[in-house]
Symmetry: C2
């Protein structure tokens, strides 16, 4: 009986994901709490759990149960029914996890671990030639992985890898959105740089005690609706969000005296991720219906709160008074406009993770084009620095002085994360399109920000996005919510409207 098969499938899957949630807690602990002396034992714990999870996810019985469920036309009649969606998504993960031979998985783990180490060395010495053989090894291994995954007609190796991060994402469709976006972003940035005014730089001089920052930023997360009875915030080297259950979501941020606005931005970014995790339906925890749909859609939530809320003027009309309450004399000289302008400064520069909202996507495009060409074989690893630098000149108008600040700046390719970068820009695009729709549905949205009331936006996201888990594919979900497929115009409208006045452009 198929119902029995489906029930057993879900039971097995929950068993695997429950174990994965314990591994996730250990990983959170490693990045926030663990003393240095714990690392060796922790890596043994993690390897053991990874093995137990892999056993469960790739168990042959899962394959049998999937086949039985898929052959039941009643169960799969409505592709968005609970059962059909769960079966579809479990099939996706089962296939990906079983398609790679164990030797390849092991070789990938070993090689990327070494490659990451060599990359750090190469970056420190700013010497691409040290990293090149490792990049070549990684490319060879991940091309083999792509072949194992396979790709359809009109598709390419990059697609097979990107599918693991963003179901349904294809290089061709990414290109179709990125190309017009790139042209318009280049025009925008160029206009801004030659505009008739410059935004205030008053906030750059600010220095605030870390204790006071640490006490303050949770209040903003709380105002956003992040529920601290179902989550917590801690400092870590790299901010992240880790959710094992909607009742227990952990976010992190980082502090430096002269970087208060970064701490605040990171907090809003991670709390945006956290609201997604807290908003997932707890009754479906451990199944795809209780899980976020994709990296890109997850990133849309963090970027929406960081950029569309946190860099908006209405937000600062409320937030500056809160900042002044917390920091007193240290910030009382700032005006709303000074903060708002400081948060929206644009400058083409070398480093992606330090980029502003407008140029950020140009950094991503460079990477997308290069990794796609590397993967297809159109670009030889040896030519990477040259092609990188050429694009930075063309897209951002800047000269790359060395590889450390050029093609060696990101960890991703050393770690084998080919096909990952575009999810960042997808996040920005989804955020813009969703936020435009939210503004359309709730004309008073900005007015609520001015009052420090973010519950309408949170409730809208809970209902329209979070509650669905992985019932729909990311692209379907976007269309279902906004009525349109993903398009570049909302992000461009947002950036043009927000940035041009500040630059008199």
């Amino acid at each position: 009986m198929t119902t029995d098969a489906y029930d057993e499938l879900i039971k097995r899957w929950k068993d695997a994901t429950l174990l994965a949630s314990s591994a996730s807690l250990l990983s959170w602990d490693q990045q926030t709490m663990m003393p240095p002396g714990g690392i060796e034992h922790r890596s043994r714990q993690m390897a053991q759990l990874a093995g137990l999870i892999h056993e469960r996810v790739t168990h042959p019985r899962v394959g049998e149960l999937l086949a039985e469920c898929e052959s039941d036309s009643e169960l799969t009649a409505d592709p968005h029914s609970d059962a059909a969606a769960n079966v579809r998504e479990i099939r996706r993960e089962y296939d990906r996890d079983t398609k790679l031979p164990a030797e390849l998985v092991e070789e990938m783990a070993q090689t990327t671990s070494l490659a990451e180490h060599e990359w750090a060395e190469a970056r420190a010495k700013s010497d691409f030639s040290l990293f090149r053989p490792w990049l070549e090894k990684n490319l060879e291994l991940f091309r083999r992985a792509a072949e194992c995954y396979g790709w359809g007609p009109d598709e390419e190796p990059w697609d097979a890898l990107a599918e693991g991060y963003e179901p349904g994402m294809r290089a061709r469709s990414v290109e179709a959105v990125f190309t017009p976006l790139r042209d318009d972003l280049q025009d925008l940035v160029s206009d801004l740089m030659s505009g008739s005014r410059k935004p205030s730089t008053a906030i750059a001089a600010l220095s605030l005690p870390i204790d006071a920052q640490t006490a303050f930023v949770p209040k903003i997360a709380e105002a956003m609706g992040f529920d601290f009875s179902r989550g917590r915030i801690d400092p870590s080297v790299h901010p992240f969000c880790s959710g094992s259950h909607p009742g227990d979501v952990r976010i992190t941020t980082r502090y430096a005296e002269d970087k208060f606005f970064d701490a605040l931005g990171s907090t809003m970014h991670e709390a945006g991720h956290g609201l997604y995790e807290q908003g997932l339906p707890p009754e479906n925890n451990g199944t795809p219906l209780g899980s976020a749909v994709s990296l890109g859609m997850h990133e849309s939530q963090s970027r929406m709160w960081e950029n569309f809320v946190g860099r908006s003027r209405p937000f600062w009309q409320w937030c500056l008074a809160e900042v002044n309450k917390a920091f007193g004399d240290a910030t009382s000289h700032l005006t709303v406009d000074e903060v708002y302008e400081g948060m929206n400064t644009v400058r083409p520069d070398l480093i992606r993770v330090e980029a502003d909202e407008a140029t950020y996507n140009l950094h991503i495009m460079v990477r997308f084009e290069l990794e796609r060409a590397l993967m297809s074989g159109d670009l030889d690893a040896a030519d990477l620095p040259h092609e990188w630098n050429r694009r930075y000149k063309e897209y951002l108008g800047i000269d790359v002085p060395d590889d450390a600040r050029g093609c060696l700046q990101d960890v991703h390719w050393s770690a084998g994360l080919f096909g990952y970068f575009p999810t960042y820009t997808l996040g920005n695009l989804y955020a813009a399109q969703l936020f435009e729709k939210a503004l359309e549905d709730m004309p008073d949205l900005y007015a609520s920000f001015e009052r420090g009331d973010f519950s309408p936006l949170k409730a809208w996201l809970n209902t329209n996005l979070h509650a669905h888990g992985s019932r729909y594919l990311p692209a379907e979900l976007c269309e279902r919510i906004t009525g349109k497929p993903l398009e570049p115009e909302p992000l461009l409208r947002h950036l043009n409207t927000q940035l041009r006045p500040l630059y008199g452009a």
Copy 2:
């Protein structure tokens, strides 16, 4: 080949204990970090891990391998060799874990969980009659468990349960130590109460900010030798120590403005446990040779640092200056004698966990006698309050006004912890006997305390106790280190020497 069997046994055991160390981290997190909303999911995670650990520990193959190892006379020739000790201790745990039928284990888990709940209710209402049926159920179940474990000639049901906490501990031998100890303690307390002077109560009035306490107490743990690169300290409701590996040991304490000396005492107590865990041989982690020997011996480490160091005058000759550095004007009026006397105040009272060093053991004796009689059937549950109150009058000279402050005060019996209480007093006895030997070996020990140098004591404990893991049984270890079996005199000498002068008795 037996070497193969032994290697496989160790491999399987390490696999089980590695998983247990992950469960231990989740449990630590639950008590220190987890937001309230995480509890339901956490209990599912813990149940899953408990099941996986139980499967491994009780796997029939473990039984086969044990039998094979035990039949190899060469392997077991020296009972204290690595292999013999590991086989002996794995056998002990395997037998205990396999002797109980699964239904009984399940019934015990369910009943104690309910009984704990009902106990809390009964204590809140101070009504023993509410708890009585649950105590009876627990007694019935744990008598059945004792029968499954079995006991030897001249032994009794209580022994079968106590063995799980303190290998080799028997009611008869506990009684042989407790009886003379009780008489002498009663005399001591009675003399103190009618002494010619009273210790200073100056420290009772102290109130210190929690932030400053939180910053201060880790310094004392560090001075003791607790290595914060291999551990950490956090606040929790009930202080505890949790160690999964010598490289990652977590201790907790608790703070209240008017209870600085409790926070300090708890910290020294838990750091004492922590030093044991950090001092275990890391190369034997995951096997009995890398594990603490018993609850009583573990408690000896916490009590030694809390009582024999932390309540000593030489300690305060150093520590008060540190306290003054940290708290300035708030403590600068205190003298070393005032603190020393305040830390050594004796008062027969109702509550075990608030008891002083001298009367504490009388509280334990009451419980030992009663649980032994309950378990053998000599005492009916219905008569517990009467027998409890009678003993408090006889041993401590006080009237018990209600059951909440009487036989309902401790959680242990509701949780099924029969045979556990004596390990607390064993800890005090071991601590005294070990400390006396340490003083004999290192006549300058107190002088080192006056300088804030605790490294000689830590090194002595590392070498003589911690490094052995579970190579010896607790009683053997005591005799090996001190040259004598456990005896009450060292504790009595310590208490008499320390307390009589303060009371002019």
